[in-house]
């Protein structure tokens, strides 16, 4: 790096970057107010920027290098301008001004004009920020802003096509940005300070250097449309409005080229001093060779793809890819040649400028054609030179520029790159570089063919369709924009000395590269017969391809989709999303598994606990009541409880029905209805008791005959079945109660009805049938099935568990309350039994009785155990004492 003393402070670069950004804020309010004022304003803003960039020329010729700061972000935004940065700023603002001029008319066709102009100014500021940046953070900041805001250019029309292209663009930009920031981070790992200057040669390993270089080139290359990360470019550039396409293709991708240029010639190079030993350039040479070959691949594949296009803008976009290949080849050659790389630097950068001019003009020209005809398919246009003569002339100049016709600008830069390649071959006589040079010439031929095709199909020949009256010369402002660019092209084409001597010589000197080569070129090679010959060769190749291609329809061939990297990127991206979702799915599944196993552990604990408790209780029962109680007896006990419940349920049911019936009856005398309900309860209670006794008798009979063993499993089902007879009881009770209210004696009738219902019910037969039907194995299977069903956790079950789990205290407290109630009941029963018996829940009484029994048993057993222990204790003491 040069000493700080070399660099003078000057506010111009910072102002140049800030001015468009500030202007962008005013676009929307102005646009809402008056469109023409806004148009004037954006033109003014870009014009001022252009003048500001031009003002850099005198400043820089006096100072060589200037710097300025804006104090924000990580520390400050730091700008340093050397002649190369100035060159970029100049052509950027120039093309921007032309495109803005063009857009004023063109955008009448589009919506969201305010957004377009705001975007344009922001991107202009960002672009200037990139090329004027003095350190890598500043560069990265503006690079990201540029990439993300330009998204709005791509999606501007908001058609489906534009959306697809913009999504692709966005992801490529994001990825490129990440690669870039990774690369910048790694330069720090190499011991760099972040400035745009040589990275210390001794820092870091070889691998780390290659990775850093790879990431930086990848990050910049995405923007530059470098192969194989160019895939967004042919989609994104054609869908944008034409002025935006001109800016995207003409200027913005140059930000990538600028980055790669700086990476190769400023970052990975030895110290900037006059005498550097050639060996120190070794690394730069290697990196340069890589970039060179990337460039060769990009230019040749780009041109092949361009030949197959029908859409004029798409074709131009592929040519942008291809032309970026030229630029990269030039930069690569510069890196390969090290300190003698002047030819490569000049060729590459001059081609950057030239490409900005002619590709800008081509997009603007095609934009004018589309503006008038609304058609972009080259094969459907033709003969437009009559209708739009000026447009035709300017397009012709631009085409001459891009194909490298002598005296037009492309000629100079292409020749310079060509010379650089030849020089590169001559340094070490690498066979591969010879091949590269051949590919270069053929690619120039392909370019020539493409533009013969474009001009021929669109402007010459016969019209394929009838043009209406709206197809006429483009509006004057569009022509003015095209004219500006054309003049610049001619100036550079005829007098390249201005740029080569005025910008490149001091710039190369600034970076301690030998600039005398350029002088040599201007004196000996410029417009030399050999160079002119190479153009003729290129055009001959181009014309041949064109004739052969048109004759055999080669331009309509298309490779299968899987042949392009695009397809594989898409597949990879979709695959990645799918993998992410798959991981997410597995994770969810794992979570569900974990929670289920936790739950089953809890369940297992509970059931084990219950089993142990039951076993303990059984042991207690066995010990306290002697022999284990027969199962049947146990069953009879439970059955008694169940039947008793059923009896109470029946009575309740009857009473409920009675209430319903009374409510339905219109004349409801309160006293009468109370009496009626009482009567119903009375009768129903009698009937239910009879019923219950009969059922109980059936059961005891079956115990005696031994049938109970079989009937036991079906008892619950049968009980559920006979529940239906509640209805009969209720019905009868209500009917008989009515009759009793009239004074009739119904006692006999009641007995008869009970008998009738019982005979209908046939409790014993039901039990036997059910017992016969149930094979002994079935209940077991059923119970297994049921328990399996139970093991499946349902929300209801979970709630129930929770209730059961929490209910331990509750149960205990309920138990205490019930005991108290029972005590109260038994002591007061004689006097006012009706009060309590009415209030106490019969279910809980039964349960509580059971509980009391159980607890009493437990307690007595515990007491017995204590006694035993005490006895043993006493005995042992006694034995001990005796000894």
């Amino acid at each position: 790096m040069h000493e700080a003393a070399d660099i003078a402070y000057h506010p111009l670069p910072a102002l140049l970057v800030l001015w468009p950004l500030l202007c962008a804020l005013a676009v929307r309010p102005l646009g809402r107010w008056r469109e023409d004022v806004r148009n004037g304003f954006v033109l003014f803003a870009t014009g001022v920027t252009l003048l500001g960039a031009a003002a850099l020329i005198p400043v820089l010729s006096a100072e060589h290098k200037i710097t300025s700061d804006i104090p924000v972000l990580v520390s400050t935004l730091h700008f340093v301008v050397d002649p190369f940065g100035m060159l970029f700023a100049l052509f950027t603002t120039f093309v921007w001004f032309a495109a803005t001029l063009h857009a004023l008319d063109y955008m009448q066709h589009e919506k969201n004009r305010d957004r377009f102009h705001t975007t344009s100014l922001v991107v202009l500021g960002a672009m200037l920020g990139v090329v004027l940046a003095g350190d890598l953070i500043t560069l990265y900041l503006f690079f990201e802003v540029l990439g993300l805001v330009a998204f709005l250019f791509v999606i501007h029309t908001e058609t489906e096509e534009a959306k697809c292209a913009s999504v692709k663009y966005l992801w490529m930009t994001v990825l490129g940005g990440l690669a870039l920031v990774g690369g910048i981070f790694l330069t720090y790992a190499l011991g760099h300070t972040g400035a745009i200057g040589p990275i210390p040669l001794e820092g870091g390993t070889e691998t780390l250097r290659w990775v850093t270089f790879g990431l930086l080139v990848l990050g910049f290359g995405v923007k530059a449309g470098m192969l194989p990360v160019h895939v967004w470019l042919p989609d994104a550039h054609p869908v944008a409005p034409s002025p935006a396409s001109a800016l995207l293709s003409g200027v913005m991708i140059k930000a990538g080229a600028y980055g790669i240029f700086r990476t190769v010639t400023a970052l990975f190079r030895p110290e900037v001093v006059e005498e550097v030993s050639e060996e120190l350039w070794h690394m730069t040479s290697d990196f340069g060779l890589v970039v060179l070959w990337i460039g060769i691949a990009t230019m040749s594949i780009g041109v092949v793809l361009a030949l197959g296009q029908h859409n004029a803008k798409r074709m131009l976009a592929y040519h942008s890819v291809s032309q970026m290949g030229f630029i990269l080849a030039g930069i690569g050659a510069a890196g390969y040649l090290g300190s003698h790389g002047a030819m490569g630097v000049a060729g590459g950068l001059l081609h950057v400028v030239n490409h900005a001019l002619f590709k800008g003009a081509l997009f603007l020209g095609i934009g004018a054609v589309a503006f008038r005809t609304g058609e972009l398919n080259m094969y459907k246009l033709g003969g437009l030179w009559r209708k739009m003569p000026w447009t035709f002339v300017f397009m012709l100049i631009a085409a001459a520029g891009i194909t490298g016709v002598p005296l037009f600008n492309g000629f100079v830069s292409k020749c310079l790159i060509h010379h650089a390649l030849v020089e590169a071959y001559e340094v070490r006589h690498l066979m591969s570089l010879d091949i590269a040079e051949k590919i270069y010439v053929v690619t120039c031929g392909g370019t020539a063919c493409s533009f013969i095709k474009l001009i021929g199909l669109v402007f010459l020949g016969t019209p394929k369709t009838e043009y209406g009256p709206e197809v006429r010369e483009a509006p004057p402002r569009m022509l003015a924009a095209l004219g500006l660019l054309s003049v610049a092209m001619l100036v550079i084409g005829i007098r390249p000395h201005i740029v080569l001597r005025g910008v490149f010589a001091p710039g190369l000197h600034e970076w301690a590269l030998h600039s005398d080569l350029l002088e040599y070129y201007l004196e000996h090679y410029f417009l030399s017969p050999a160079d002119l010959m190479s153009v003729v060769v290129a055009f001959a190749i181009g014309a041949t391809i064109f004739v052969v291609g048109m004759k055999f329809g080669l331009f309509h061939l298309h490779a299968p989709r899987w042949f392009g990297v695009d397809y594989w990127y898409g597949t990879f991206a979709r695959g990645f999303i799918r993998v992410s979702e798959w991981v997410g799915g597995w994770y969810e599944r794992y979570l569900r598994f974990a929670s289920r196993s936790l739950r089953s552990i809890r369940l297992g604990y509970r059931s084990t606990y219950a089993r142990v408790e039951r076993g303990w209780r059984r042991t207690v029962v066995t010990i306290t009541t002697g022999a284990p109680g027969p199962r049947n007896q146990h069953f009879i006990q439970n059955a008694y409880i169940a039947l008793e419940r059923e009896r109470q349920a029946t009575v309740r049911y009857a009473v409920t029905r009675a209430h319903e019936w009374l409510r339905a009856t219109p004349d409801a005398d309160p006293a009468r209805s109370t009496a009626a309900v009482d009567a119903v309860r009375d009768i129903a209670s009698y009937m239910a008791t009879r019923q219950m006794n009969q059922r109980m008798n059936v059961l005891t009979d079956m115990v005696r005959t031994g049938e109970i063993e079989a009937a036991r499993h079906s008892f619950d089902d049968v009980l559920a079945e006979v529940r239906l007879f509640r209805d009969g009881v209720a019905h009868t009770a209500i009917e008989l109660a009515q009759r009793r209210m009239t004074g009739e004696d119904v006692i006999r009738k009641i007995s008869a009805e009970v008998n009738r219902i019982s005979s209908e019910e046939r409790f014993d037969r039901r039990l036997r049938v059910a017992a016969a039907a149930v094979h002994p194995a079935i209940p077991r299977v059923h119970s297994i099935g049921a328990s399996a069903r139970d093991a499946m956790p349902t929300p209801a079950l979970v709630t129930e568990w929770r209730v059961r789990g929490l209910g331990r205290f509750e149960r205990a407290s309920r138990w205490v309350v019930e005991i108290v109630r029972l005590v109260v009941e038994t002591t007061t029963q004689e006097r006012s039994s009706w009060v309590l018996s009415d209030r106490l829940d019969p279910d809980s009484i039964i349960e509580t009785r059971q509980n009391i029994q159980r607890y009493a048993r437990d307690m007595s057993f515990n007491m017995a155990m204590i006694l035993v222990v005490l006895l043993v204790f006493v005995l042992s003491i006694a034995v001990g004492v005796r000894q």
């Binding site: 924000v72 972000l73 990580v74 520390s75 953070i137 990265y140 900041l141 990201e144 802003v145 993300l148 999606i155 908001e158 959306k163 913009s166 999504v167 966005l170 992801w171 994001v174 990825l175 940005g177 990440l178 920031v181 990774g182 981070f185 790694l186 720090y188 790992a189 780390l208 990645f576 999303i577 992410s580 979702e581 991981v583 997410g584 799915g585 994770y587 979570l591």
Partner: protein, 490 residues
């Protein structure tokens, strides 16, 4: 006395909220707003003094000769407190509009203010015991806010939350007790309480108790289970602070323990930090991958929080000065970015009934300001310069290189890429996808939210920009983080 006032002013707010709530909702809104603003002003007012190098210390209560409650404001605490108080203020203002028609507002606001108080207590805690007390208080008292909606999902999420947090809390308690046992009670200050002469096994046990305990709150991956459930269940303004500050409180605890209980040299000697860094790196990537598949916006954001908190833990785990600056700065930056995102998600729910990513198409046409804030915060999360997310990633990146482990750079950038993958499609769909029906536009339903909710959202997103552009201005997070870090890495 300023720190004490800052900690106890919100407690006044609790009472004031309950009393004023009886009068009218408006009175309560103004009263609480004023108190919260005053608290924020107090926390910010402390910053210049802290930058000048003064340390405020107040002994509140001496329980026994060796146990006392003690507040102490250092750079790290001042930064965290200011962040918390500001975000709280924004969320409170937002709540007034958002919670207008909800039930049990008295409870909501009371606990909301209560949590602010405890959070500030955590930030200003001068010794481990004080830290523990405030930390537990605010962890547990958050529960009513998590279950505020009282839907079955909210209750389940609350149960999950409380189980996780109690487990983490008990581990922290264990760690504190163990530290007491080894070193006695001491002030938290750079350099550490423990030293290498102590039993190595005990030191390791203490370290992992703390890391796992705080890791539950900081959502390190095996302990993150409560985060994706609690966030969607809680009301949006609370999700914002939950994500922005409360989860960060766990990371804050990890930092306090790492740098002020153990100290840099001891940690380097123990050799445990690479493990923490590994866990953090896994957290970053794994949570981000999970976020990609989520449809519920708030759930996706919750996973994003887990991933972003991984960055903070990574910064601590690398045990380098630059990385620690990155981690500290990221706590603040993330608070406002994620705050913005959650506030926007709340607006989408309230005004347009949009809960899921799949429903968001065309939302930007209906709610332009909301979606603009969302987009800005999204870019911040990805780490686009000049937004605040870039600043933290920048320092983290420099820190990674500083300790010479460039492979973590892949984690850093991979996390950023994944953030783009899970957040950008939301923005894209909101702006450029056509909604399936246009009925909602006709009814006027789902139009832009009223100013009371919009203003805090916009302020939060503007802070994303301001914290990025003015990152190095004295008094901004970077200066405080630098100061704190310089003390740790002397």
């Amino acid at each position: 006395m300023v720190p004490v006032a800052a900690v106890f002013l919100p407690l006044v707010g609790v009472v004031a909220g309950l009393v004023l709530g009886r009068i009218s909702g408006r009175a309560r809104a103004w009263g609480l707003g004023a108190i919260c603003a005053a608290t924020a002003a107090l926390t910010i007012a402390l910053i210049p003094g802290v930058l000048d190098g003064s340390v405020y210390e107040i002994y509140l209560l001496r329980l026994t000769p060796v146990i006392w409650i003690h507040l102490r404001v250092d750079a790290m605490g001042a930064l965290f407190a200011a962040t918390a108080a500001l975000l709280w203020l924004l969320a409170l203002v937002y709540s007034v509009g958002y919670m207008a028609n909800e039930h049990r507002l008295g409870r909501y606001y009371a606990f909301f203010m209560l949590c602010l108080s405890w959070t500030l207590g955590v930030a200003y805690a001068g010794n481990l015991l004080t830290f523990l007390i405030f930390y537990e208080l605010f962890s547990i008292l958050t529960y009513p806010l998590v279950v505020h909606e009282e839907t079955p999902e909210a209750m389940a999420a609350g149960t999950k939350y409380i189980i996780y947090i109690l487990m983490g809390g008990s581990l922290v308690l264990l760690g504190v007790v163990f530290t007491f046992f080894l070193a006695g009670e001491q002030t938290l200050a750079a350099g550490g309480i423990l030293n290498a002469t102590m039993d190595r096994t005990s030191l390791l046990v203490i370290f992992w108790c703390f890391i796992v305990g705080f890791g539950v709150k900081a959502a390190l991956v095996p302990m993150h289970g409560w985060v994706p459930d609690a966030h969607p269940a809680a009301p949006a303004p609370f999700s914002a602070v939950l994500s922005g500050v409360m989860v960060a409180a766990g990371s804050f605890g990890i930092m306090r323990v790492a740098f002020q209980v153990f100290g840099v040299e001891l940690l380097a000697e123990l050799g445990v930090m690479p493990v923490l860094a590994g866990i953090a790196a896994f957290t970053v990537v794994f949570a981000a991958i999970l976020a990609v598949g989520q449809d519920n916006i708030k759930r996706r954001l919750a996973y994003s929080t887990i991933s972003q908190m991984g960055y903070v833990a990574l910064g601590v785990g690398l045990l380098g000065a630059e990385a620690t600056i990155g981690a500290l700065v990221h706590v603040t930056n993330h608070a406002f970015m994620k705050g913005t995102l959650f506030l926007c998600a709340g607006l989408l729910i309230k005004r347009a009934g949009i809960h899921n990513v799949s429903e968001i198409a065309g939302a930007a046409k209906r709610m332009p300001v909301t979606m603009a804030a969302f987009a800005l915060a999204t870019l911040g999360m990805i780490g686009t310069p000049p937004l605040s997310g870039f600043i933290s990633k920048w320092y983290l990146g420099l820190g990674i290189l500083d300790v010479d482990q460039p492979l973590y750079l892949a984690v850093l950038l991979g996390g950023a890429l994944l953030a783009a993958i899970y957040l950008l499609p939301i923005v894209y769909a909101a702006y450029f996808k056509t909604p399936p029906t246009i009925a909602a536009e006709d009814t006027g339903e789902g139009a832009e939210a009223p100013a009371s909710m919009l203003v805090p959202t916009v302020i939060a997103s503007t802070l994303t920009l301001v914290l990025g552009l003015a990152a190095t201005v004295p008094g901004f997070p970077y200066s405080l983080a630098r100061m704190a870090t310089e003390a740790f890495f002397r």
